[in-house]
Assembly symmetry: C2
Homo-oligomer: 233 residues x 2
DNA sequence: GTATTGCATATTGTCAACAATTGGCAAAGA
DNA sequence: TCTTTGCCAATTGTTGACAATATGCAATAC
């Protein structure tokens, strides 16, 4: 048997390797939910979804269990599953946990950050500055996400990353209804600088505080832009 | 229709209300896994489990999805599901996240702790002191859990509690093989005092540090007692 | 006119059967 | 003796059918 380089493993094959139908279905339903097609509280019909995806109800039900464990849907026995409704109170709770988790990521990263990683963060901040000055939200947003992602994944802690991104997903559920909001990303980048400064100084203590404060400020920005549960465009 | 007091709702009925078979099965399998009956890496056979629980394979498969999302089992397509193996590296990662989460709980609690809550914590510490002096591990252990639980649930943050206890479950997986370890619970209670002191002072900053440090110390205690993956009685 | 009861429909919960894949074992070949 | 090939049993993946439960509507009683 010829030893093949791992690079040759086509993505399609790899997908088949790690995913049974339920996993594909789960990813698909998650995409649908997070895209906001269904709106919080809306019911997900098993058969309808199964038919749409061209599979039987079994895999759909299995996918539901995974989505439920991740807090994306609510399951009521003999009634069905519904897109999880995130109350304002819940959103605050999630933000608080996310703040603690992101602060922790900053703290852990401060103890092990490499110069390459630091350079990447500095570069992202510079780019965000440019986008910010141009008021270019479409450019700023992905950079912002990249910044947070770089910090969280930079800790090389898979559990932390999974948990963090899980919370982010649930938050996306909260502001699924529009609300791109972009309010005050000038201050946001100032906070970014504070984080990187603490990281550069290898100061875990300050890094946590800066990371925690940044997410809390984000929470305040979102909540301030007020959105009572059902729409108000 | 007579309006019944919510108190009358028998627990049995409530169970039926919130749980389909899959949920019961999931809880049952989780109990089996955490009891250590199966050992990390061991395979869980669908049909065998289904027969043992007196149900069909469907609910078992659904339960597996939930357990997978919670990180308790590993699923390999066309091969089956296995009790999740927690490497030393993973355990460290989980402990770090748990530390951040527990520290966050302390921080959040510091901002809202009531005198009743503080009194409860003081009482638990006193009891732990007694148990500690008597070297009574069987008494100390549940008190220790109660202390942590009181802090985490005291924040009234459901997301935080769910996430935290999820991590604790996964850690139980790591030390499922015996390892009651009890090493140095004298120092442990000293750390508890530091946490409560910060809470009494309503100092979020210090509370986080104390909580974070406490879990990290616990991590060090566990890891120091060294346990290479496969047993060593 | 309002509330209640009973039925028809739709949807979920569970199961058992079928299809597909895997791993092990024995036989054949080098 | 070691490797390879081809089968067989076991297990997983998926499906469609059946049972149980909830929802909506109409008819009836008050």
């Amino acid at each position: 048997m010829i030893e093949r380089s791992p690079m040759e493993t086509s993505e399609a094959l790899d997908v088949l390797r790690t995913s049974s139908l339920s996993k594909v279905v789960q990813a698909e339903i998650e995409k649908i939910i997070l895209s906001g097609t269904f709106g919080p509280g809306e019911k997900l019909n098993e058969k309808t979804l199964a038919d749409q995806l061209g599979v039987s109800r079994g895999p759909v039900r299995e996918a539901f269990q995974g989505l439920h464990a991740r807090g994306l849907v609510e399951m009521i026995p003999n009634r069905g599953v519904f897109v999880q409704k995130i109350s304002r109170h819940d959103a605050v709770a999630i933000y608080d946990v996310r703040a603690g988790l992101f602060g922790t990521a900053c703290r852990l990263l401060a103890e092990r950050i490499t110069s390459d990683q630091a350079a990447e963060l500095h570069a992202l901040i510079a780019q965000m500055d440019v986008a910010g000055k141009r008021r270019d939200l479409d450019a700023y947003f992905p950079l912002n996400i990249a910044f947070h992602t770089a910090i969280v994944t930079g800790t090389d802690n898979r559990i932390l990353a999974e948990t963090y991104f899980g919370l982010v997903s649930r938050l996306q559920l909260f502001r699924a209804r529009g609300l791109v909001h972009g309010g005050g990303f000038e201050s946001s980048n100032i906070e970014h600088r504070a984080i990187v400064a603490a990281l550069d100084a290898r100061d875990p203590h300050a890094a946590f505080e800066a990371g925690f404060a940044h997410v809390q400020a984000g929470k305040a920005r979102i909540l301030a832009s007020g959105d009572p549960p059902p729409g108000r465009t």
